[in-house]
């Protein structure tokens, strides 16, 4: 933090000492670190651990769905004796708890903290040209709040009554009454506590990201020269700042209903024939508050992935991103619309049909900016010199999932169609493609692409290709059959298909899903081996292995504390000067001035040469103390 803007050593020579960092103790360097790169890696490793747990839980319930009553007794040592009968059959209460925890873990701990936490932390200072985050301390606090919330959530998996079991949306009254079900007891309390801490962590992180982007950009890094990754991370952070407090609100009132006897969400309830004293509450109120966060949350998950893949696709197509400003404005549009569509999750709550059609209209408008993005991806790829690195393949995979999942979104957004499809496997298939798989692919693409910058080594690309093709085909195999289950009317969160005649005949589709899920999980174990092996024994990376334009590739191969040795580079051009006509190489990094590339400048760029002196003349203002 102290070294953030001390690049201009001429002005403040005596402060130069801050740049030579003393060797730090192990704890300060790797555990309670304030360095954004270390914090990013901490988030990444935590995210990977959570993804393993979340994925494992999904396999357990997928086995039950594909093969109802299957003997899962061999899981007793891990999950506990209590949840399996003598024949090893899974307990239905535990089944719903597994579904709940899978959702919670994947949405919040993997795709929010693991994705934003890793890449916002890692890339924002490196790509805007800052020595570190605005406040390293708040950043560290953010990670350790996340860690605390992780520990609580993890412990809740093993409490006596099992983890929370009301679905990841924790609708009251089920979640508000500890006596309602086993999953509403201690597990639910821990869920709420953990999420409250998670929200604090997420807010601290988001505040830091926005402040860094606004205040700590290097010389010449104007908003119109920022990489799309940074735009996406900023929008994500703003979404978080505006929506997570509302979830805190909802959780707070729920905590009071659970533990202090208030009646915000409860009214006219009988348990075991006994009337509860709670009068006058409204469970729908919770849904409004929850989905006011819940809908922006899906964009918190997908926007960073979209930003990173924009960068990766432009780099590996060796072409400027198509529609840079259109990309920014479509993300802005998505961000704005995210706040006014929440009720499309609530078409079935008996809302006024007119209100339903208003929300239908608003929801369908989201298709416009989303389509702009999809077309921009495709036109960027069009006639590019495409290099199929694993990161590139995963980015293209994201575009594929984003489109095929988005199409079903148009179907679900219609309030009339939603009456049939609400809470069926069609919804499950839709969001697992458009938000789950797409965001996951974006995250994996990011890992492959920025791995050389993180660890100074390359990942094995052959294993990367195996990982990609298995996961890509596998994910479609998992979720495509579920569309048909959903259209046939099979509800989500049900313990078995075999109970009803109309679903019996779809058992084979469920089995396809299950088998594919196991294969995908195995493929990701290959990825993990590749990841951890490459950290230690991977091929040594070069400084700019993907021939990319952004600033992070101007840092040393093993980036030290403070990111750049000596002065932070100055930025003169946008980050997408790939394959520029006349240029010697097919990329011109952002820190190359126009005056150095007369052969490839456009006429208006020759005009900009005059401004270069002025950009270089910008000085950090020390008259305002920190």
């Amino acid at each position: 933090m102290a070294a953030v803007a001390h690049a201009d050593t001429h002005v403040h020579g005596h402060e130069e000492a801050h740049e030579h960092h003393e060797p730090q103790s192990f704890i300060k360097k790797y555990i309670f670190s304030e360095d954004h790169k270390v914090i990013a890696k901490q988030y990444l490793i935590s995210g990977i651990v959570w993804a393993l747990i979340g994925g494992f839980l999904s396999l357990v319930f997928r086995l039950q769905l594909g093969y109802p009553g299957i003997d899962l007794g061999w899981l007793k040592p891990i999950l506990g004796e209590r949840w399996f009968d003598e024949a090893g059959k899974l307990d239905p209460n535990y089944y719903i708890a597994l579904v709940t925890m899978h959702g919670t873990i994947m949405v919040f701990f993997v795709l929010t903290a693991g994705l934003s936490g890793t890449f916002s932390n890692f890339l924002i200072p490196l790509q805007v040209g800052a020595r570190d985050m605005a406040s390293g301390f708040i950043n560290m606090l953010s990670y350790w709040f996340f860690f605390l919330s992780s520990v609580i959530m993890f412990c809740s998996l093993f409490v006596q009554d099992g983890p929370a079991g009301g679905g990841w949306v924790v609708y009251p009254p089920l979640s508000a009454l500890p006596d309602a079900a086993p999953g509403s007891g201690t597990g639910m309390t821990m869920w709420l506590v953990s999420m409250a801490i998670f929200i604090v962590s997420s807010l601290l992180g988001s505040i830091n990201y926005v402040t860094t982007v606004i205040n700590l950009r290097t010389k010449g890094m104007t908003f119109d020269k920022m990489p799309l990754t940074i735009w996406a991370f900023t929008f994500t952070a703003i979404l978080g700042i505006l929506s997570f407090p509302v979830l805190l609100s909802a959780a707070l009132l729920l905590i009071f209903d659970r533990s202090f006897g208030t009646s915000f969400y409860l009214s006219d309830i009988y348990i075991n024939g006994q009337a509860l004293p709670n009068q006058g509450g409204s469970p729908i109120l919770f849904q409004h508050l929850f989905w006011f966060l819940g809908h922006p949350e899906v964009y918190i998950v997908i926007l960073p992935a979209l930003g990173m893949t924009s960068e990766i696709i432009a780099t590996n197509s060796r072409k400027p991103i198509f529609g840079y400003k259109a990309m920014i404005f479509s993300m802005l549009g998505i961000m704005f619309l995210a706040f006014i569509v929440w009720a499309h999750h609530m078409f079935m709550t008996g809302m006024n049909p007119f209100l339903g059609s208003v929300f239908t209209l608003l929801t369908l408008i989201i298709a416009v900016p989303s389509a702009v993005k999809a077309f921009n991806y495709i036109t960027t790829l069009w006639r590019g010199n495409i290099i199929f690195t694993p990161a590139m393949l995963f980015s293209i995979g994201l575009v594929s999932f984003f489109v095929s999942g988005g199409v079903t979104g148009i179907i679900l957004g219609n309030s009339a169609l939603d009456i049939q499809l609400h809470d069926t496997y069609f919804v499950v298939a839709h969001f697992h493609l458009v938000m789950g798989s797409a965001a996951f692919f974006g995250m994996v693409a990011g890992v492959y692409h920025w791995f050389p910058k993180m660890f100074g080594r390359m990942m094995n690309s052959t294993l990367g290709y195996i990982h990609f093709w298995t996961t890509f085909i596998g994910a479609y195999m998992v979720f495509f059959p579920q569309h048909y289950l959903g259209i046939a009317g099979f509800p989500r969160r049900y313990y078995a298909y075999t109970g009803f005649d109309f679903t019996n005949k779809y058992q084979d589709l469920a089995q396809v899903s299950t088998i594919a899920a196991i294969v995908v999980f195995a493929a990701n174990l290959v990825f993990l081996c590749n990841f951890f092996y490459s950290i230690f024994w991977g091929k040594k990376a070069t400084q700019n292995p993907w021939k990319s334009n952004t600033l992070e590739w101007t840092t040393p191969i093993n980036v030290g504390h403070g990111n750049w040795e000596g002065e932070i580079p100055t930025v003169y051009r946008w980050p997408y000067d790939y394959s520029k006509p006349g240029a010697a190489e097919d990329f011109i990094p952002q820190n190359i001035p126009f005056s150095a590339t007369p052969e490839s400048n456009f006429p208006y760029e020759n005009e900009l040469i005059k401004e270069e002196k002025e950009i270089e003349g910008i000085q950090f203002d020390y008259s305002i103390p920190d």
């Binding site: 102290a2 953030v4 803007a5 001390h6 402060e15 605005a134 406040s135 708040i138 988001s206 505040i207 830091n208 926005v210 402040t211 606004i214 205040n215 700590l216 950009r217 010389k219 890094m221 104007t222 119109d224 020269k225 700042i241 505006l242 929506s243 997570f244 407090p245 509302v246 805190l248 609100s249 909802a250 707070l252 009132l253 009071f256 202090f260 006897g261 208030t262 009646s263 915000f264 004293p277 009068q279 006058g280 509450g281 409204s282 109120l285 409004h288 006011f292 005059k610 401004e611 002196k613 002025e614 950009i615 910008i618 000085q619 950090f620 203002d621 020390y622 305002i624 103390p625 920190d626």
Partner: protein, 202 residues
């Protein structure tokens, strides 16, 4: 140290003349505080809209708001004035005045907290408890949440007082006092909003 001049891309100043350019960015700590304020605004906005949604559904008990809340409101407004004066004192390098005024503000904040608590007791004498009709529950939640946030504000005030006591604050280093003033005024305005809201939508 974190401030830099982020020039807009349209060049307005003449090239070559090394004049100190306009400062377009704010201090990062001030920026962070404003972002925190936004999160708190969102928290209370969602709470009050939940209140309105719930109220519109009927079955809503009305009760008198104890008069002590009027006095506590006045106390908080006065504390905001003393906070403002302490910022001016800091800017004028008047350390003794700064210390006194920050101490007065802290004490007034504590008095406010005490009065809110007494107000709760008055409410309980009226038969309004946290349990019961949501109108009463909401009243306790709003005041309680505000008190929790005011506690954080008191923490900043005490930090400011300690720094002032150690003579770390002068006219060249007013960031802490400014941050303190911004958050304290915000907490004041937040309470005024909640109070008027609760009076109007009883």
């Amino acid at each position: 140290m974190s401030n830099k001049l982020n020039k807009s891309n349209t060049a307005t100043t003449t090239v070559g003349v090394q004049e100190p350019a306009q400062v377009l960015s704010v201090n990062k700590w001030k920026f962070i505080v404003w972002l925190f304020i936004i999160t708190i605004v969102m928290l209370f906005a969602s709470q009050t809209s939940a209140y309105l949604v719930r109220r519109a559904e009927g079955n809503w008990a009305e009760f008198e708001i104890p008069s002590i809340f009027w006095i506590s409101t006045l106390v908080l407004i006065v504390s905001s004035i003393t906070m403002h004066l302490s910022l001016q004192a800091a800017k004028k390098n008047e350390n003794t005045k700064l210390k006194t005024l920050v101490a007065i503000t802290t004490v007034l904040g504590l008095v406010f907290l005490g009065m809110q608590y007494l107000g709760w007791q008055d409410l309980q004498q009226q038969g309004i408890y946290l349990k019961g009709n949501p109108s009463g529950s909401f009243f306790y939640i709003f005041t309680g949440l505000h008190m929790a946030h005011l506690g954080l504000g008191l923490g900043i005030l005490i930090a400011t007082f300690i720094m002032a006591f150690r003579l770390k604050l002068d006219s060249s280093n007013t960031i802490l006092v400014e941050v303190c003033a911004t958050s304290w005024h915000f907490l004041d305005i937040l309470w005024l909003y909640l109070f008027v809201f609760l009076l109007y939508f009883r």
